[in-house]
Amino acid sequence: MTYITKPKLHHPSLERNAVGYTRRDYEGKVSTLCAGCGHDSVSAAIVQAAWELDIAPHRVAKLSGIGCSSKTPDYFLGASHGFNTVHGRMPSVLTGANLANRELLYLGVSGDGDSASIGLGQFAHSMRRGVRMVYIVENNGVYGLTKGQFSATADRGSTSKKGVPNPDAPVDMVAMALQLGATYVARSFSGDKAQMVPLIKGAITHGGAAFIDIISPCVTFNNHLGSTRSYDYVREHNEAVSRIDFIDPAPEQIAEPAPGESIDLPQPDGSTLRLRKLHAGYDPTDRARAMEYLMAQQAKGEIVSGLLYVDPDAGDLHQALKTSARPLNALGEAELCPGTAALAKLNAGLR
């Protein structure tokens, strides 16, 4: 329960990062989600990624919609401003917030109900606008907070807890993000922290719209036999295309990899993303090929994970709009108001 406060005292020997924070400084309130919920693992991965990247917690703005996943921003980064918006509309609020102050890191957390149904339009348009953000969908194929209805990402034929098969085709948000022009597209599994943390770090350091679809099983309503979003099913069918070995701001320390085995991608902040290929010939910078591979594997019933596509030179909405480097919310009368002399001229032109 959220009114149970965590003890404020930290163990003095907790390790501090380069900006002086311990891991605890990136935590939030105690989660109110069900024990074993995949979403809590995602929150933990976000905490670790932000700590490891030395991000000052208050320089993050975390936004969400409505649903179990959208509750989670209260459970991490307690020193950041958060905004639990309305159902399916996190992307527009995040876009507006981002326009107001381009200097913060924007983290959008949503679910499959929030983003693939009611919010599909806003998800799509935020991707095509290239809003710089980390957009995480905690995808469990089910509406948890309203107790077990299928979501739009549930596979056709996958059964509900009561054994009823889902008659509808699923929305694949990764494929959509690829088609819509997202410049960092990944899929992960909440049961695989080793994969999640570097993917989130890569998204944080990315220069444009980063989307991560994280399969995050619902232990209460969608973890049974017959579900294609259960822990067991995902473990059996998860097929990673690559592993991110590290993201390090000091590329000179990187040992030269064996040719063809890995790919180094420079990030806008100067760090480097190194991908160790698990599939020969998979090129994560080729959008069309990524789409093709995804479709082929999906037809076989496999869940393709890892960094599926990235454009290391991606721009964002601010670049397209040519917005000033100084955040718009920091501009005052001197920069914004043309003044009375200009108005006199305007008036004269209207006579």
Binding site: Y3, H58, H81, F83, R89, A100, R129, S324, N329, C337
Partner: protein
């Protein structure tokens, strides 16, 4: 024979055209030419939701006395559209004039006996003069303008000057327009004026009645108000009649907000995927400390209501410009109404109330747009600028736009990093100043203090999630207190007392103002005296209840079917509805002075003849 209308500087001309035929710019030139003669004009476009081929009208009120509302009735109909011929002919005042293209002869039954018919074979003249079909069409309008200007004594030099402004650097176009203008003038002199023609009893005489006033549409003025008021984020979705607000904002930002050296923009405009996203972006930007607005119309407001409730409850500055049109549903997208009053005042589910501002003309659109940005920040709540198509899309003679270089943006209660560092207590939803307005912090302000979680769900004064009844009540009661504070900050109503003491009053607002000005004048001439109050905002300042209390009957004049402002007055001020007789105009055209005068006269007469001893009789 009915006596011909003879008038100088006081008449109504209406042009009946087919849209897409290039008539709009010629019609505008006609209005501007009269304005340049020093005579006030007030033109109104009555147009279809269509691009080409449907009827469109342009009605010009000419009034040296300065009446800028619609008068009602038409003295000269320039009937250039066969589709609407019958209704256009019928609309002319007895003794008035009908100008038409006489290229194809019409049977006598097509005309009326009590009006003067002026036929000019415009098509034939143009076909004889021009080879190109497009030129034939375009110069037809200019020839008509020439003929009318000659008949009305409008100086050719005034129109030539307007041409030279319009076609600066395009000498060929300038020259051909001037030629067409004079061809029209010569034809009118030779064939339409006495002794060979019927002539026209409507004249324009040079005057000095315009002063330093400007001629501008409300949407442009509102957009400029947003530039001056410091709006940096605009998110919108195209919808008639509001689209030109965002387009004008873009135009003025390109003029004033682009760094000439770096090319950097001190603004961001996003054409969103729908109105829900527009208001979402505005909400996000407002939460993050940028002044943000959206411009929309009724259907857009309907879509935005969930977000409006969130912004109200989470206390986020949001400015919404609602250029009202005829509803419900798609209704009359190109016609005007004041029919979103209740939808905006109480927008969203749950107990919500919102601040509304009602500008009367473009000058107030400019002023109130900047004011609404201040109020939204001060009150941390949605603020609606309630204009309508009549104000928004028609050019109107208005006072010059006014600003002071001393004016500072009121950013409201935003706690700074220094204040947090100094140990000032931060409680996001606590009333610490007694005005119901809490303090807020912006994301990224301080490393360890002042962060909070914004939500639409209930919380305690420290923004912690809480479903406790007492916390909820504290919060919604504080919002009521904040709304009472708003009543002290919004633009005050403007009162104009009758020349003699009266028990009758009238309340009106927005685009009704110019027609009301004339109606009050006419009524006073008929010994019907009314004290008048022009409402400029909701919540109602205390003076509104005082005004109503000081009168026995107060007419409420508005442009909707249900008397929405009257309902708001009855509900919010607990006034006996019997004391507020409604005067309602809602056919989609702007209200006229004649309509108001007649409705109030009838009502006053009815009150006067009621049997003595009844409350109504006594009140009259």
């Amino acid at each position: 024979m009915t006596q011909r209308v003879e008038a100088v500087n006081d008449f109504v001309v209406k042009f009946a055209n087919v849209n897409g035929s290039g008539s709009a710019s010629a019609n505008e030139l006609f209005a501007k030419a009269i304005l340049r003669m020093g005579v006030p004009v007030s033109p109104r476009n009555i147009f279809p939701s269509n691009i080409q081929g449907l009827p469109t009208w342009y009605e010009v009120r000419v009034s040296e006395a300065g009446w800028l509302g619609r008068r009602g009735g038409v003295d000269l109909m320039v009937a250039m559209n066969p589709q609407t011929w019958k209704q256009d002919v019928a609309e002319v005042e007895p003794g008035g004039y009908l100008f038409y293209d006489s290229t194809r002869p019409l049977p006598e039954s097509a005309f009326r006996k009590d009006i003067t018919v002026i036929g000019m074979p415009v098509t034939a003249i143009c076909n004889a003069t021009y080879e190109d079909s497009r030129q034939r069409q375009l110069f037809k309008n200019i020839m008509v303008l020439g003929a009318l200007s000659a008949l009305m004594d409008i100086d050719a030099s005034v129109i030539e000057k307007l041409f030279s402004d319009q076609y600066r650097g395009k000498e060929k176009l300038l020259e051909s327009n001037v030629r067409a203008l004079h061809a029209g003038r010569e034809f009118a002199r030779d064939h339409l004026s006495p002794p060979r023609g019927p002539g026209l009893g409507l004249r324009v005489r040079r005057a000095e009645a315009v002063g330093d006033r400007i001629f501008v549409d409300g949407n442009s003025a509102a957009a400029l108000g947003c530039v001056y008021g410091g709006a940096t984020v605009c998110a919108w979705y195209p919808i008639t009649p509001s689209s030109s607000v965002a387009e004008a904002f873009q135009k003025y930002c390109e003029k004033f907000r682009v760094n000439p050296e770096t090319g950097e923009h001190r603004y961001a405009i996003v054409q969103a995927e729908d109105e829900i996203a527009s208001i979402g972006m505005v909400t996000g930007a407002g939460w993050n400390g940028a002044r943000a607005f959206t411009a929309t119309s009724g259907p857009g407001v309907s879509l935005m209501t969930e977000f409006i409730g969130l912004a109200y409850f989470a206390e986020i500055p949001v400015t919404i410009i609602n250029v009202q049109r005829g509803g419900p549903s798609t209704g009359m997208p190109t016609r005007t109404q004041q029919a979103d009053i209740l939808a905006c005042a109480y927008a969203s589910h749950g107990d919500t109330k919102h601040v509304l501002l009602f500008p009367q003309d473009p000058a107030e659109c400019f002023d109130f747009a900047a004011t609404s940005l201040d109020l939204a920040d001060r009150l941390q709540t949605p603020v609606f600028l309630m204009t309508d198509l009549d104000i928004g899309m028609n050019q109107r003679l208005a006072q010059p736009l006014a600003w002071s270089d001393e004016r500072r943006y009121d950013r409201g209660k935003v706690m700074t990093a220094d204040e947090l560092e100094a140990g000032k207590e931060f409680a996001r939803y606590k009333d610490v100043d007694g005005d119901g307005i809490p303090w807020r912090t912006l994301p990224g302000t301080h490393a360890s203090k002042g962060a909070y979680f914004t939500r639409g769900t209930t919380r305690d004064p420290y923004a912690r999630y809480s479903e406790a009844g007492a916390d909820y009540i504290y919060n919604v009661q504080r919002l009521l207190k904040k709304f009472a504070t708003a009543a002290t900050l919004v633009p005050a109503p403007v009162v104009r007392n009758a020349e003699q003491k009266t028990r009758l009053g009238v309340l009106y607002f927005g685009s009704t103002a110019p027609a009301m000005d004339e109606a009050l004048h006419t009524l006073a001439g008929q010994h019907v005296h009314l004290d008048a109050m022009r409402l400029r905002a909701f919540p109602f300042p205390a003076s509104v209840a005082e005004f109503i209390a000081a009168h026995e009957q107060v007419f409420v004049v508005e442009q909707n079917r249900d008397g929405q402002m009257r309902r708001l007055l009855v509900d919010e001020l607990e006034i006996d509805p019997k004391r507020l007789p409604p005067v309602l105009h809602y056919d989609g055209t702007p209200i006229t002075a004649r309509f108001i005068t007649q409705a109030i006269t009838e009502r006053v007469l009815a009150l006067a003849v009621s049997p003595k001893g009844t409350t109504q009789g006594e009140r009259a």
